[in-house]
């Protein structure tokens, strides 16, 4: 009986130490000069490729140190990120679907939209290349060939920026993709590449995630360089006039940082060491008009 009491006391101590530890960590994470107001948290909804490509690991500590805000990033597809902004649930966005962004911008839910960086999309597929798209310069033509040959295509199907572009390309090819050759994973880019790799299918991927995952993939790049495959990433702030609970100062601190020389330098350097090439190209100060949109 006494033994058991001691044992219970031991368990209780463990729990207490753990809670204290977790509490401490909380304190430690706060930069010393953090804002004293309660709203130190900035919620940023961003597309999965920013986290999947490892860029977030470089950016977040720098942002938190510089601004004193605590960044709560929510990695979701661009579709969901835009939906969260339209409900005023987040403070800022970092996404990659210009057409859809324009709609949200026109609706007044977001303000201060700025181009941050770009890279491009690539069409990857198995070595055997059943549809014969290798080296084609036109993405729409490649999509038509895939559909014509009923070659397996793995779509993200999650309404992300990549998925929106893919649907747009099918539309331009006048194809409604249906049938067993067209499969939707409903998950992020990394997972979708894995599925395509396992099933030996074609897929549309952003180059950053592709390079990041390349060590597990046996899918070469088959089509690249079409202007339609340009992938533009914008930041924007959720409109505080529409949603009073938005942390507008925090959102501004976030967008200011990614557009600042320091933020842009971090983005430009990301991946150079690990992969020998940058994953994103910075565009601070430019607009999408510079790319002919």
């Amino acid at each position: 009986m006494i033994q058991r009491r001691i044992f219970i006391a031991f368990l209780a101590c463990c729990l207490a130490i753990l809670s204290a530890e977790a509490g401490n960590m909380h304190v430690l994470q706060k930069p010393a000069y953090a804002q004293s107001s309660t709203n130190r948290n900035v919620i940023v909804a961003m597309t999965t490729s920013i986290e999947d490509s490892g860029l977030l690991d470089d950016l977040v500590p720098a942002i938190e140190n510089q601004t004193g805000y605590r960044l709560k990033k929510v990695s979701v597809g661009t579709g969901q990120a835009l939906a969260l902004a339209e409900k005023g649930e987040v403070d800022a966005l970092f996404v990659n679907s210009p057409k859809a962004e324009h709609k949200v911008l026109a609706g007044g839910a977001v303000i201060n939209r700025h181009l941050v960086m770009h890279n491009d999309f690539v069409i990857v597929g198995p070595d055997t290349d059943k549809a014969g798209i290798k080296g084609k310069k036109n993405a729409v033509e490649a999509f038509s060939l895939i559909a014509k040959n009923q070659a397996l295509f793995i779509s993200r199907g999650d309404d992300s920026g990549t998925n929106k572009l893919e649907k747009d390309l099918w539309k331009q090819a006048n194809i409604t993709p249906t049938g067993s050759w067209y499969q939707q994973t409903g998950s992020g880019m990394g997972q979708t590449l894995q599925v395509a790799n396992q099933k030996l299918g074609y897929t549309l991927a952003d180059r950053a995630t592709y390079i990041f995952q390349k060590h597990n993939l046996s899918l070469p790049i088959l089509v690249e360089g079409d202007k339609k495959l340009l992938n533009l990433y914008h930041v924007m702030e959720v409109n505080p006039q529409k949603f009073p609970k938005v942390n507008t100062a925090g959102a501004r601190a976030f967008t200011d940082f990614v557009l600042s020389p320091k933020g842009q330098a971090l983005i430009a350097a990301h991946g150079k060491k690990q992969f020998g090439q940058p994953l994103f190209y910075v565009d601070g100060g430019k607009t999408e008009k510079d790319y002919g949109f």
Partner: protein
């Protein structure tokens, strides 16, 4: 998350000569090596995710015991109209999908929701709320079953011997110890292994709401299977240690 750990070039993945089978074995072995490496290198990222996991699931289990155990006892000992309805509701709650609970909790905690002013979304508190709701019916249901399976004559006997209500309840809890510890174990097992609700209300934010299960999902998404496997080992080690400790407690140290 674990990018601080240097990713070594995993050449086995690049070579097409290596068969699928050896790749399978390699991921499992490399995972074990990496788990060892992560645990011994004093990597603060891993340590932080581990403590957060224990903090969230421990607190949520504690809350679910505080609420579930009295409810289970009350259901087992007191007769009232609607008792069967309530019991079946609790049994139904045991099977509620965590993602559904995650979604409903999100609706409450979002800025546009009724509790939006508290700024709880994407915090450990939000995760504790969701996990406690997930574990609560399990603890209540198991407690109900444990208490009701005690011979009812025992309670009458104790009461007639002049025990107060509280004394009798305490003796009944001791009597039903085995079943009640099973309730705790089941509740804890459910929350520590849960991923859907944690992801939804916590947001899997590095250094804030990332727990072992959501970290595994992220590493799989990133294609770092060895790291994912390593975290899986760590999760298994932690879970089994705690369950063994609880089991020892359940059996009154007799199996030591």
């Amino acid at each position: 998350m674990l990018m601080a750990v240097k990713r070594k070039k995993i050449t086995v993945f690049n070579s097409s000569l290596i068969t699928e089978k050896s790749r399978f074995v390699n991921t499992i072995l490399e995972g074990a090596m990496k788990a060892l490496e992560l645990l011994t290198s004093g990597n603060s990222d891993v340590f932080q995710v581990m403590t957060m996991t224990l903090f969230v699931s421990g607190t949520a289990t504690a809350i679910s015991i505080l609420l579930g155990l009295p409810l289970g006892m009350w259901l087992a000992l007191v007769d009232f109209g609607g008792k069967h309805t309530l019991t079946s509701l609790i049994n139904f709650g045991m099977g509620l999908p965590p993602v559904v609970i995650g979604l409903v909790v999100s609706l409450f905690l979002w800025r546009s929701g009724p509790l939006g002013n508290f700024d709880l979304m994407y915090t450990p508190t939000a995760m504790i709320i969701a996990e406690a709701i997930i574990a609560f019916p399990i603890v209540a249901g198991f407690s109900f079953a444990a208490i009701i399976s005690i011979n009812p004559k025992l309670r009458w006997r104790l009461l007639s011997m002049g025990g107060t209500q509280w004394q009798v309840n305490w003796l009944l809890i001791k009597e039903a110890r085995l079943g009640l510890m099973a309730a705790v174990i089941a509740g804890f097992g459910r929350v520590i292994s849960e991923v859907g609700a944690s992801m939804m209300v916590g947001g899997n934010i590095k250094g804030q709401t990332r727990v072992l299960t959501t970290a595994i999902v992220l590493e799989v998404e990133k294609g770092n299977y060895d790291v994912a496997m390593a975290i899986a080992y760590i999760l298994l080690i932690i879970t089994s240690t705690i369950i063994v400790l609880l089991t020892i407690l359940q059996h009154d140290n007799k199996i030591l």
